[in-house]
């Protein structure tokens, strides 16, 4: 009953390949036609919703936004703008430093740790390739880059997440003293133009420093 059922068993009930069509009773035919119409309608509606979800903003989507979003979210969400419209052309790094009773420590290259783990690794882990990278994207997309205020309802989650990623790596103490505050900075460096290109631009790293965030025991819950 829980197996792949009788497809291909060739018992002739459903008719396979070129066999003669089964003669259905009237109620059976009614069920089948209703089933066929229902399935085809649902399939068409579903595919239409998927199409409107991945298509650029358009009038049809605006009109049926509630229905399209209802079908697509949360389980059928997708983004296939892979390297589009243009690939990312800058290396973004995230560094953190902590403050203890003894003073302020030096910058710790969190992204640099990721890159070191990826180098020479044929199967990089999501831990190194996605965790911090996407957490920073999440923070960046939910905060103003002028004054670091949250611009989206999930801004608080993004900040807490980023903080905990760094604290997990740094630990509870620095130089023997407990960590009391943490600060992040992101560095953006343009990828140099290809050697044959006539374009040129600066590849100096541009830093953006965030403010100091207090650290409490509560921030370490669950972290080892």
């Amino acid at each position: 009953m829980t197996d792949g059922d009788g497809a291909g068993t060739g018992d002739g009930t459903g008719g396979g390949g070129g066999s003669a069509p089964r003669v259905w009773s009237r109620p059976a035919l009614a069920v089948l036609v209703a089933g066929a119409v229902g399935l085809v309608t649902c399939t068409a509606g579903f595919l239409g919703a998927l199409f409107l979800h991945v298509a650029p903003p358009n009038t049809l989507y605006q009109r049926y936004q509630k229905q399209v979003d209802g079908v697509v979210y949360p389980e059928f969400e997708q983004n296939w703008k892979l390297f589009a419209p243009d690939p990312l052309q800058q290396n973004v790094t995230v560094d953190a430093r902590v403050r203890t009773a003894a003073g302020t420590g030096g910058w710790i290259g969190l992204t640099a740790q990721d890159i070191a783990a990826i180098r020479g690794n044929p199967i990089p882990s999501h831990l190194d390739q996605n965790l911090l990278r996407r957490a920073w994207d999440f923070y960046d997309s939910t905060h103003s880059n002028q004054d670091d205020s949250a611009t989206a309802p999930n801004g608080g989650l993004a900040q807490e997440y980023l903080k905990r990623i760094a604290l997990q790596r740094i630990g509870r103490a620095a130089g023997g003293d407990p960590v009391t505050a943490i600060q992040f900075r992101s560095g953006t460096r343009e990828v140099a133009p290809p050697p044959w290109s006539r374009e040129s631009w600066s590849t100096q790293i541009q830093y953006r420093e965030l403010g100091w965030w207090p650290v409490t025991d509560q921030d370490y819950r669950g972290l080892r």
Binding site: W80, D86, N91, H126, L131, L157, Q168, R221
Partner: protein, 454 residues
């Protein structure tokens, strides 16, 4: 299409074993039109319309000039017959099943050392954060049901087991649902650590539930092949069904599964799971006690229709991936000037072998050809589905490109997922040939292994 292709053994294989997704996509629009039997039948539709053509042929032979209405009627009847009576692309569905189960299982095993940080009790994305996000988006995951480390470990192990069982095709109908639960649970709990590969696994895990993906290349198929008598006394199946019903009832009573969804169309997971469970029970009952009855035939036809719709969704989903990726690139200035692929190779996160990226990035001609070729292939792919040979060439190119991405950009699991998605469009003959190669290699590898074990 070449005569050697249509006249050879491959044709019989394709026509007999189901047209495959290539037939599905290329064929369905043509169903509406009356089949042209006076011309050589196009290869892509040969498998799919074998039924309708066979039906229409005597009529056309007897009366040279047939009224349009009759031809449309014959086509509609033939289409309905195919839609209700033929499981299209059984080998393609099995490929999707095995491929994505393999991708997910490999991913779980690869992340085994990091599982607690990525999905479990040590995650910086703690369950309190995850619950806040889930309260807003209503995604399904069993991992928020308990904070216990052991609940997480059990779910992770269960996910590995579901992946392996789905690969093997053991009680495929039930296992595909368990696999979907495993995939959604892990991915929705830590939605911020996935990439495109996880996204496509997520989608396919849901679509697979509605296919007859265990019709071939499965333990189920082997069991059915041993004789119809055994199907009636499926003790393991009954126990599994009863156990899953009990678990579902427990989850429902604990208030973990809702009848109603939070947003339009207000469909809760409770309705989905109980419907699947009830249908599995009904299917067992009719097979056990009324194997020759019409209700069994009706259920069989409904399952076939559902399979055919789900396989169409899978095929269109893959087309949407490439169309979106291609069409949005057309607007990009770096894709236009032919330097686009130079940049991802110089992103530190996607350069496990900097020297390799460096070598590939030194040639303007190579980068230009690869960049333009990528856009061309992605944009053109949906349209080449109308032409079998062109489509197969493009598939080969896309698979090669994904092999390249696997190595150069350090994305092997993403690439394997995309190659599996591409394989939906491979002809049945190619899939059967590949399976034969795998089987031979396995047999060849088994002899020395057995010697070692002895």
């Amino acid at each position: 299409m070449s005569q050697s292709e249509t006249g050879g053994g491959a044709d019989g294989l394709v026509a007999g074993a189901g047209a495959g997704a290539d037939g599905l996509v290329a064929g369905i629009p043509r169903q509406a039109a009356p089949p042209k039997v006076d011309q050589p039948v196009d290869q892509p539709v040969a498998g799919l319309v074998a039924g309708p053509v066979a039906l229409a042929r005597p009529v056309l032979g007897a009366v040279p000039v047939v009224r349009l209405a009759d031809r449309i009627e014959a086509a509609v009847a033939g289409g309905f017959h195919t839609f209700t009576g033929r499981v299209l692309g059984p080998y393609q569905a099995a490929t999707v099943r095995i491929g994505f189960a393999l991708v997910f299982t490999l991913q779980l095993l690869r992340e085994w050392p990091h599982r607690r940080v990525l999905y479990g009790d040590r995650s910086p994305w703690g369950l309190d954060l995850a619950r806040q996000l889930l309260a807003g988006n209503h995604a399904f995951t069993v991992l928020v049901w308990s904070d216990s480390r052991w609940w997480f470990e059990a779910v992770y192990l269960f996910a590995v087991l579901a992946g392996i069982l789905l690969m093997l095709g053991w009680r495929t109908r039930a296992t595909s649902v368990l696999f979907m639960v495993a995939v959604l649970s892990l991915q929705n709990r830590s939605v911020l650590i996935g990439d495109g590969g996880d996204n496509i696994v997520h989608l396919m895990a849901i679509y697979l539930v509605f296919t007859r993906c265990g019709a071939v290349w499965s333990l189920d198929a082997r069991r059915r092949g041993r004789g119809p008598g055994r199907v009636g006394h499926d003790v393991a199946g009954v126990l599994l069904w009863a156990a899953l019903g009990g678990l579902l009832a427990a989850a429902q009573l604990a208030g973990r599964v809702d009848w109603l969804g939070a947003t339009w169309p207000y469909l809760g997971w409770g309705v989905v799971f109980w419907t699947l469970w009830a249908v599995a029970g009904a299917w067992y009952a009719v097979n056990r006690w009324w194997p020759q009855s019409e209700p069994r035939a009706v259920l069989d036809a409904l399952a076939t229709m559902l399979h055919n719709c789900a396989l169409l969704v899978i095929a269109v989903q893959v087309v949407l991936v490439y169309s979106t990726a291609g069409w949005y690139k057309v607007q990009g200035s770096r894709w236009q000037d032919g330097t686009a692929l130079y940049y991802p190779m110089h992103l530190d996160y996607f350069a496990p072998w900097p020297w390799l990226s460096g070598v590939l990035g030194t040639s303007a001609v190579l980068v230009f050809l690869l960049s333009y070729g990528t856009v061309l292939v992605q944009v053109a792919f949906p349209f080449t589905l109308m032409n079998r040979r062109l489509k197969n060439v493009l598939l080969a190119v896309m698979m090669l490109e994904h092999l390249g991405i696997a190595v150069v950009l350090g994305l092997p699991i993403f690439s394997l997922a995309m190659i599996t998605a591409d394989a939906v469009f491979l002809p049945t003959a190619a899939l059967v040939w590949f399976a034969g190669r795998v089987r031979r290699t396995a047999r060849w590898g088994r002899a020395p292994m057995l010697r070692l074990l002895r």
